[in-house]
Symmetry: C2
């Protein structure tokens, strides 16, 4: 039950308003469930406040999140039709990205790495242009872990980003330097999961 | 990146279909962020599959979740207007509950306890009637922790519930017997939070 009151106020020379208005860099990591789900929940809250939402899924097969994608596309349509909430863009790495067909469609590790880097380059361009209010970089820890995207470059881009752009990054094994650079880090730990008992994923719960 | 394949199959006499179709009892606990947010994310996914969603907030002041409430009420309207997704009911303890005005509106601990128990009794009735497909019992760990609602009664009601009703319970300090009874337990651990640095909550992120 958050109370909204900081426990202490640092001597950083910022006013409460300045401090309040720093953009959020959130990281949801750890082996448990809920990392992406909580990020999409944040996006839902932001949408309701009129935030322009950009989702970028750094996975080759995103079949587990089609439910969220359908609802957010619907919310984006609602915004276009009625002006409610904010705009929504939802991009998946898939075979390349929706804004480009530069990917060869090859299913090699080299191509995955190239596609991931292309996604990050586009995000850098959008951050420079202040294109979105909230970026969800889903499963983005993996391209950093695997060396496809340079973690120090990500940290520098986030540190220097203009305006008020919030960023949420999800995935296991977040790099320590990314965690250090974030303002809000939550680790999701699995205590018990139905797959431990031989239960497969099911409609409406897992996707 | 969930793969959808259990690591082992237990000798419990159930077919894969039977095991797959067991309803979920999820608990999101721990001191970190994202417990409720991930629960609402699950509700979003369920809504998209046509689930009838019932949200019950066991807090006296739910000002931090008005964003989620507004979006889910809107999704419930969409369902009524177009048939998309599922129905949505959103109830807050507030001063009593929306289905009853039996609360005296007093702000005493005794009244809070009585209101919480009244909420749980209504949920028991709805579970017996198979009223919803997915129940979000937000911050419901606290009434159990404080002895206002008997944890063994909750566990028994969940164990005996008819049909295919999913339940998600959020809040810190989930009781060990509740955790034991759940099929999916995630602990959210705070690694870093902006309030540690004197940053207050902000619009679109915290509410």
């Amino acid at each position: 039950m958050p109370q909204g009151q900081p426990q202490s106020v640092p001597a950083d020379g910022l006013t409460t308003r300045q401090r309040r208005n720093r953009p959020i860099t959130a990281v949801h990591t750890g082996p448990g469930k809920g990392k992406s789900t909580a990020a999409f929940g944040m996006a839902l809250r932001g949408w309701n406040q009129g935030f322009d939402i950009g989702v970028f899924q750094f996975v080759k097969s995103a079949k587990w999140k089609v439910g969220e994608e359908e609802v957010f596309r619907r919310l984006g349509e609602l915004h276009e039709q009625t002006g409610e909430g904010g705009a929504v863009e939802w991009h998946k790495m898939g075979s390349g990205w929706s804004w480009t067909r530069s990917s060869t469609g090859e299913n090699t590790q080299e191509q995955h790495a190239a596609d991931a880097l292309e996604g990050w380059r586009e995000i850098q361009r959008r951050i420079a242009d202040e294109r979105h209010d909230l970026y969800v970089l889903d499963e983005f820890t993996y391209p950093m872990k695997w060396g496809w995207v340079d973690v120090d470059e990500v940290v520098a881009t986030l540190a220097d980003r203009p305006g008020k752009q919030h960023v949420v990054i999800t995935g296991r094994d977040a790099h320590p330097r990314l965690i250090e650079a974030a303002t809000l880090v939550t680790e999701m730990t699995k205590i018990r999961h139905p797959m431990d008992d031989g239960q497969k994923g099911q409609r409406g719960i897992e996707w």
